[in-house]
């Protein structure tokens, strides 16, 4: 048991000794780590509701509902919500994802109850006022119009569309203009009633507050929340691997640069392959100045301002890909260099030195990623979401050191088959 007074975290990384984890009777998991050097507090969390629950014809509804939660509730209208919040210099927002709807708030410690009160009202009793729905719709449609003009977003959408053909990951969480135009107060109210509830909800609090006090406050606001109608989270269908390489190019008039993505689906976060793949991904396109890809595409060929690789940490098989922004005339050369590097990555063991460098980096950078309240809160949610255990960051160095060159090659060969790669490009029309 953590004493209420004189408590200080003993480690720079969170662990069982300084993280309080409590599961309320209604299923909500509360995670708290104090930071008494901070006069502020971060309140962040998530619920098991996302675009997975959207039908094709209502794609974007989950995200739209999340965005509308703070536009009025049974206690306060839009202006009253934001007057309370902004008068305290606090912030609170919701964002829809594929699996999860997240919330993110912060305030001075003295205003934590105000923050949690607004969170509660937004989650429990949103009223989705008609006038606010229309204002939100205009905002979202403008965002989608801007999305249609973004080379980066168009390349990513085209990539997902091919890699995840027929799978929910092929769909953009925000939906399309034609679906967004159809949302009504009724469809939003029904969606909220069906999917919002305490089951699966987690909330992390980090900042200048005593853990027991934080848990008590959360209990007082959320402990009695029930929703017997809350539907179960749908199962994610299996992903069908590609049979061959594919490529697509989208044209956007008037642009100066093309964005390109080469890759496919990687391991799930819960897979034992994930950490070897993540370490390999760092060698491929992150370490130092964007890893091997950065060295070849940016440093040696001078083709791109950014050229890196990323591996998504997702409940299902998220994308594992290399991205770059290049002049349209250099697209072919950049893709060729990237594919060559991917082939090498999948056919040769990484160097001993590369492995050691990246292991040292993974272990050494952890405290830096946890230097802010939001960094710690995000890591607590991550370990809870993926059931990694409260001692995850304590055991992390040992796990990273145990990864071998062979583990990385196996992961690369398993997921990054050069014969089954997707290349997606969005940019201006090519000159003859």
């Amino acid at each position: 048991m953590i004493s209420r007074k004189g408590y200080r975290p003993t480690n720079s990384v969170p662990g069982p000794e300084d993280v309080t984890r409590v599961k309320l009777d209604n299923g909500i998991v509360v995670l708290v780590r104090p930071n008494f050097n901070s006069p502020s507090v971060v309140v962040t969390g998530g619920l098991n509701v996302g675009s997975l629950q959207d039908k094709d014809e209502t794609l974007g509804l989950s995200d739209f509902v999340a965005s509308a939660l703070m536009r009025g509730n049974q206690t306060k209208d839009f202006n009253q919500v934001y007057d309370k919040l902004e008068s305290a210099g606090a912030s609170l927002g919701f964002s829809g994802g594929t699996h999860t709807t997240g919330f993110n708030g912060k305030s001075l410690v003295e205003d934590i109850e105000l923050l949690l009160g607004l969170l509660k009202e937004s989650l429990f009793t949103p009223t989705f006022p008609e006038d606010q729905i229309e204002k939100l719709r205009a905002l979202v449609l403008t965002g989608l119009a801007m999305r249609s003009q973004s080379t980066g977003e168009q390349a990513a959408m085209a990539f997902d569309n091919i890699v995840y053909h027929g799978h929910p990951y092929s769909r953009p969480d925000e939906g399309y203009p034609e679906t967004v135009r159809e949302f009504t107060k009724e469809s939003m109210t029904n969606f909220h009633a069906d999917h919002y509830g305490p089951k699966g909800m987690r909330i992390a609090i980090v900042g200048g507050i005593d853990p027991d006090e934080a848990v008590d406050i959360v209990k007082s606001f959320f402990g009695d929340w029930q929703n017997p109608s809350q539907k179960e989270v749908p199962q994610l269908p299996p992903w069908q691997p590609l049979g061959e390489s594919k490529s697509v190019r989208k044209e956007i008039l008037g642009k100066s640069q093309s964005d390109l993505i080469v890759g496919t689906a990687g391991p799930k976060r819960s897979s034992p392959d994930f950490l070897p793949a993540a370490l390999g991904n760092s060698i491929l396109g992150q370490f130092g100045m964007m890893g091997r890809v950065g060295e070849i595409v940016r440093e040696q060929a001078g083709l791109a301002y950014y050229a890196n690789s990323s591996l998504s940490s997702s409940i299902g098989p998220g994308p594992w890909s290399v991205s770059a922004g290049v002049n349209p005339k250099n697209e072919d050369q950049a893709v060729e260099l990237i594919k060559k590097e991917l082939t090498r990555f999948g056919s040769e063991l990484v160097d001993e030195e590369e492995l050691e460098d990246n292991q040292a980096n993974f272990i050494g950078r952890t405290p830096l990623s946890l230097e802010s309240n939001i960094g710690v809160a995000a890591s607590l949610l991550h370990i809870e979401k993926h059931q990694l255990g409260l001692d995850y960051y304590i055991r992390y160095p040992e796990r990273i050191r145990a990864i071998t060159r062979e583990d990385i090659l196996i992961a690369a060969q398993k997921y990054l088959d050069p014969e089954k790669m997707v290349t997606a490009i969005a940019g201006p029309p090519l000159q003859e």
Binding site: S38, P39, S40, N79, Y82, D83, L85, E86, S87, G89, A90, S91, S107, L108, E134, K135, A138, L139, L141, T142, A145, M146, S148, Q149, S150, T151, Q154, A158, K250, E251, I252, L253, G254, K255, S256, Q257, F287, G288, E295, R298, E299, Q300, G302, L303, A304, Y305, G325, N327, D357, A360, N361, I363, G364, R365, T366, P367, L368, E371, S372, G375
Partner: protein, 376 residues
């Protein structure tokens, strides 16, 4: 500067710093350039050695210059994909006739294609000198030992020549300027930029409070986050009344007078002129009616909260030190909240009348040229 020295050749540093779990980067702003890094507390010496070395021993090999040129051209091409970059560039160019603030920091495409190794090396030897540098360190160390370490590493680097004095007095703008930028997309934007005071002026703090009332509290710290602005005057009048889909505003901390800008994303059912009319009405109301004291107190509380969020990380703490030293000194930072708290309703009214005049502004409109979205 990231291409290495004889002591730390190209690629070695990236690897060494990453290996230690550190992070480093650099950025150029209008008035300054910063090289920053965050390292584990017991590895700080490495980065100090690196910075002391590259303050004097940069190589600037010709082949590196050519390679980096194409990389920066690619960065600029990426920026040009954004309508807002195109609009900002046009507004800044219109706002200044003499001062270098008329240029985007990244430079024009013509400059990027023309700059040679000699230009870079001359710039380096002129400005990367101890008499033009500030070192800021924050973290878990003993101050005296850290100062000694810095003295040992940097103390022997010879002073450079006196810095060239650049006269950049900008003639006063006499009448409103309007411009239109046409480009791809479906979304129009409006940017209203007013000539604003330099950061050391007491007017700067008052305009900060005024901005908080008009467009919401904003964070001067380039790394810090912000809060929403849905109770600000212009959000209520423009976004809530469905004339704009978003509005944001802000000042930038600069050595010389820069711009106070309000940026609006125009609602599909409205024209830029509609928004300009409402903007003028709201500004007029601030000029004619004293704001409530409670509104000012709220702005101060918001600033206090933003300071708390922005000072959480060690990286940001060091940034604040260096940032304030660039245009003033550290006292500017420590007295910031007190300066805001001292602002009166009369001050706000006076500053609104002084700066938010049509003849002191540049109105820039981004109009989509009718080309639709992505096509396969």
């Amino acid at each position: 500067m990231f291409k290495g020295t004889d002591a730390f050749p190209n690629g070695v540093l990236d690897k060494t710093i990453s290996r230690d779990g550190g992070y480093w980067n650099a950025m150029t702003y209008m008035d300054w350039t910063t090289y920053f890094s965050t390292m584990p507390a017991d590895k700080g010496e490495l980065i100090l050695r690196v910075e002391a070395d590259r303050m004097q021993n940069g190589i600037f090999a010709s082949e590196d210059v050519d390679s980096e040129r194409s990389v920066i051209i690619a960065e600029r091409e990426g920026n040009e994909n954004s309508p807002m970059f195109r609009l900002d560039e046009a507004v800044q160019a219109a706002a200044y006739q003499k001062h270098a603030y008329q240029y985007e920091v990244i430079g024009s495409m013509e400059d990027l294609e023309r700059i040679n190794r000699e230009d870079l090396y001359t710039h380096y030897k002129t400005y990367y000198v101890p008499n033009n540098a500030v070192i800021c360190v924050a973290g878990d160390f003993e101050t005296e030992a850290m100062i000694k370490q810095i003295k040992d590493l940097f103390g022997s680097i010879p002073r450079g020549p006196e810095l060239p004095i650049v006269e950049q007095a900008e003639p006063k703008q006499k009448e409103e300027k309007r411009l239109t930028v046409k480009g791809p997309g479906e979304t129009p934007f409006l940017r209203a930029s007013y000539h604003a005071p330099e950061t050391t002026s007491e007017d700067f703090f008052i305009l900060t409070v005024l901005d908080s009332l008009l467009t919401g509290a904003s964070n001067l710290n380039l790394f810090g986050g912000g809060i929403s602005n849905k109770t600000s005057l212009l959000y209520k009048e423009l976004v809530q009344k469905e004339m704009a889909v978003s509005v944001a505003g802000g000042l930038q901390a600069t050595i010389d007078p820069f711009l106070y800008s309000i940026v609006m994303t125009i609602h599909p059912n409205h024209q830029p002129e509609d928004l300009i009319t409402v903007l003028d009405q709201q500004i007029e109301s601030v000029q004619n009616k004293l704001p409530e004291k409670s509104a000012l107190a709220r702005a101060v509380k918001q600033a206090r909260a933003l300071f708390a969020y922005g000072s959480e990380s060690i990286t940001n703490q060091a940034f604040w030190l260096g940032f304030s030293e660039m245009f003033d000194d550290y006292d500017w930072f420590t007295s910031y909240l007190d300066q805001l708290a001292a602002v009166t309703p009369q001050d706000v009214q006076r500053i609104a009348r002084k700066y938010l005049r049509p003849e002191n502004r540049i109105l820039g409109i981004y109009l989509p040229d009718g080309n639709g979205g992505a096509q396969e």
